[in-house]
Symmetry: C2
Subunit: 520 residues, 2 copies
């Protein structure tokens, strides 16, 4: 069942004038890591974006502060300590018997679980969302770092460093992707002329695997692929050529830029002799074979936010096409449209189940085709089969910024698009007619990690996720220096890429499989 | 001897159009902690300020990168480790025999020591500059902190926390000042409605004292008063009424706003039942008496940057007026003009020696009276005695941003005004005709603590002086919370203000003196 509940944009008159690149530039006003030059272009973009936002009802009016905020979190009340002592996670339930329904693999797909949102499903959505969030939290954005664009932590320490070990998964492989010619601003590059790692590639996500205990709880061995998005949508969006390109079977077409990131490779690079697609498919194939040979049931759950959600769909399509009888689900957050209707139908035919989590005020899920597409979909009978119309796939869980008493109102594109905002709203979602649930436990402070969305009463600084002294430390001589990375956190071309030399079938020769044997 | 080497502003034609408040608004483009609203006004201000900066030759053209940078610090060279292992401080010399000359207390004042700059004097200037810098580094700017506007560290830990114990001084007292009605934006205030500390007062500096070892090295017991300035000049400047007010003897007048900060008090406040003036004078008087009774020679050295340099002059005037035969020196950095010519003459009569360290491209030392004053001073014979003309006092050490190969060129008002930029340039200054000395040792990375002045080749992030996660820490339950301050770092109204109840003379009743007895 396909959901396209997006409001139609009969407001096209003025909206057509505004290019999407301008809309996204608006985020730069609050993007504190942008150089001043970026700010100079923001005023015009901001005004245009704000006009458009009113047309599209993205502007959230300031409401009277609800009582919920007071009951939830009154920083001056005596029970603040008590509030701070509440566990941040809902209790784990054994979902082994129900995991297929939770992942949409039943006749009704997610229909009966979304409104009201089943607590087991809510918990799983948050879990996968945290896997996607990890790709941001660990990413090295420092353009003065020689490892800019890599993960700050090696795969063996990623979850430990980010406090995610409690989810019961282990990272098996890191995925790297190349910059694509049509998305020139997408890649994070080091300013340094000479870097031991790579100027061509970025860390783009990872493959993880449920451990034995989590496997028992969730009823199958779960392989997770988490794709990194971009924090600043403008970086890839404003330069993107909205051009469809054939992918897979029949008339299926997907956005040219997304596909370029997923399939780009180059023999002269260190990390992308194999494409992201080849890296992830080799590892997933290996893991599926390994556990099937052991007689276990295996699932593949692919997650990602923003651009990462788009890559998740491409990845799901490829996995379902090439690995027979694999249960493939996608849980995406704030993802743009990816392909045409034939692509959607192909995913449907292959049995890929997609749950798109969407914040109503976030503009990215309306891309590409903000104006054209949404108008055309009103005449779906006529135009729906045209192969140049972008369409969303799967079920939608629609969230509303206004449901949370903790979030600021107003106009805040990067805030509405932030994955932590999404996870906060999922955590508080009961059903589409109720406001924030009062027993939500997820730490509200997380929302402001990289945006300014929390009301001042909460006393949480904005954009607080930052390194002490931007990573500089004082050495024994009193000088502030950038410490060299721990060897285990340095990306290693050989260990990630030596799989290239090995054929898919020869598992006994595969270093990673041997390692897996040891770990299991 | 009075120096007024400031270039005359015959460029007044256009400059008159531009108000100083607009000039200072330009800093907001790179002030990352300003809310987006501030950025909106910055474009016009920026353009005007840039025009003015060209007129006043504040714009530093990009030069060919000198060889010095390559020889000093090539991040790709093999000797980087060696560079990072160099001590950051020049060796200490015993200056006991020469301290009066170094502090300007000789017939030629500083004339024979400034150009070329005597290495002993250079070292002392940096030492006092670091005392002034400590007032910024420890200041709590966090408007969500219940102690916003205080020092993050108690006075017993200040130097230890900031790595300044090697200077051989101990903090004796913290000074607090009240907001002044004519400088409404000057005070840092907590956003919190209910705070246990103070909404009216800010930590404004401290009194420190040389220990026995340092006292032997420098030839006398040195009392230091360090005054805090403001990081963003606009905050106090754009609202300042440039109005002179009588102060002290005769026709002496000083700027109304500075005097208000120095002398403001209110019985209903917690920290300013005594004014800053009363607090500092009581402590200085006590220390002078104490050490004179022990037969020691005592000096008072007052330092401050920006607004802090202005307060230093007011403080020096009061100290020299009220404590007979005290050797009083002021070493100020980027300080604005403070008073009229009669005030300057009064300081001269009292024997206060003032060394003003000034960066040529910094606009603050040209305030108040950027246009009017500098034009008038060309006709000094006629106008110099008018009591409404601001004038600088003392000797000037003039630094030039262009002398350092490590600093970015272009237009950067907050960068040119930053105290760390000053200290870097002092450290590299040989004489007015030579570029940066090659054996300068001060850590260059410090320059970018709170601005963006270092060339990219150095790989030092801009604005790097920041707390990990803005002070949030993860508690045992996984929640990100603002930890409560250590009790010893919490400002205590009683311990700082109980001196109010005690008369100046009754030293045996004075808690602080008893404490001093124990320490000595």
């Amino acid at each position: 069942m396909i959901c396209n509940h997006l409001p139609s944009a009969a407001q096209s008159g003025m909206a057509r004038i505004v290019s999407t690149s301008l809309i996204f530039n608006a985020h730069q006003e609050v993007d504190l890591d942008r150089p001043p030059a970026a700010a100079k272009t923001s005023n015009r973009a901001s005004r245009l974006a704000e006009s458009l936002s009113h047309l599209l009802h993205l502007h959230v009016e300031a409401p009277p502060r609800t009582k919920l905020l007071q009951s939830h979190w009154n920083p001056y009340s005596d029970d603040q300590d008590q509030k701070h002592s509440t566990p941040t996670y809902s209790p784990k339930e054994v979902i082994a018997e129900k995991w297929r329904e939770i992942h949409g693999h039943c006749s009704s797909e997610w229909d009966c679980l979304l409104d009201p949102l089943h607590p087991w499903l809510r918990r799983e959505i948050v879990k996968y969302g945290e896997f996607a969030q990890a790709t941001y939290d660990a990413f090295d954005f420092d353009s003065f770092s020689e490892y800019c664009g890599s993960s700050r932590y090696g795969r063996d320490r990623l979850f430990e460093k980010l406090g995610l070990t409690r989810n019961g998964y282990t990272v098996k492989k890191y995925i790297y992707a190349m910059s694509h010619i049509d998305m020139p601003n997408w890649l994070e590059r080091s300013h340094l002329v000479d870097t031991t790692w790579s100027k061509d590639s970025n860390w783009m996500g990872y493959v993880a695997l449920s451990d034995d205990e989590e496997t028992r709880r969730i009823g199958r061995r779960d392989i997770v692929v988490a794709w990194r998005g971009t924090v600043a949508p403008s970086e890839w969006y404003e330069d993107m050529q909205r051009k469809l390109e054939p992918y897979g079977q029949g008339d299926a077409k997907v956005e040219h830029g997304f596909l370029g990131i997923y399939t780009g490779k180059n023999e002269s690079t260190r990390y992308n002799k194999c494409s992201a697609s080849e890296q992830v498919m080799k590892e997933v194939t290996r893991l599926v074979q390994w556990y099937r040979e052991k007689g276990e049931e295996v699932s593949l759950t692919i997650t990602g936010h923003s651009l990462g959600g788009a890559l998740a769909l491409l990845n799901a399509y490829e996995a379902a096409s090439t690995i027979p009888n694999l249960t493939v689900s996608v849980i995406s957050f704030g993802a743009p449209r990816v392909g045409n209707i034939a692509f959607r139908d192909e995913l449907h035919r292959l049995g890929v189940k997609t749950l798109r989590v969407v914040v109503k005020q976030d503009i990215v899920p309306r891309m590409p085709g903000l104006v054209l597409n949404e108008s055309l979909q009103k005449f779906d009978e006529v135009t729906g089969t045209l192969d140049w119309v972008y369409t969303h796939c799967g079920a939608e869980l629609k969230l509303d910024v206004r449901s949370s008493p903790f979030l600021k109102r107003g106009f805040n594109l990067p805030g509405f698009h932030s994955l932590e905002t999404y996870l906060h709203l999922v955590d508080g979602f009961l059903d589409s007619s109720t406001t924030f649930r009062s027993d939500a436990r997820r730490d509200i402070a997380l929302v402001n990690k990289a945006c300014d969305m929390l009301v001042d009463e909460l006393r949480i600084p904005h954009f607080w996720y930052q390194l002490e002294n931007k990573g500089l430390v004082r050495n024994a001589h009193g000088r502030w220096v950038k410490p060299t990375r721990d060897p285990e956190d340095i990306p290693s071309g050989s260990s990630e890429q030596d799989v290239h030399a090995l054929s898919l079938g020869t598992q006994t020769q595969d270093h990673d499989v041997l390692e897996t044997q040891y770990v299991i």
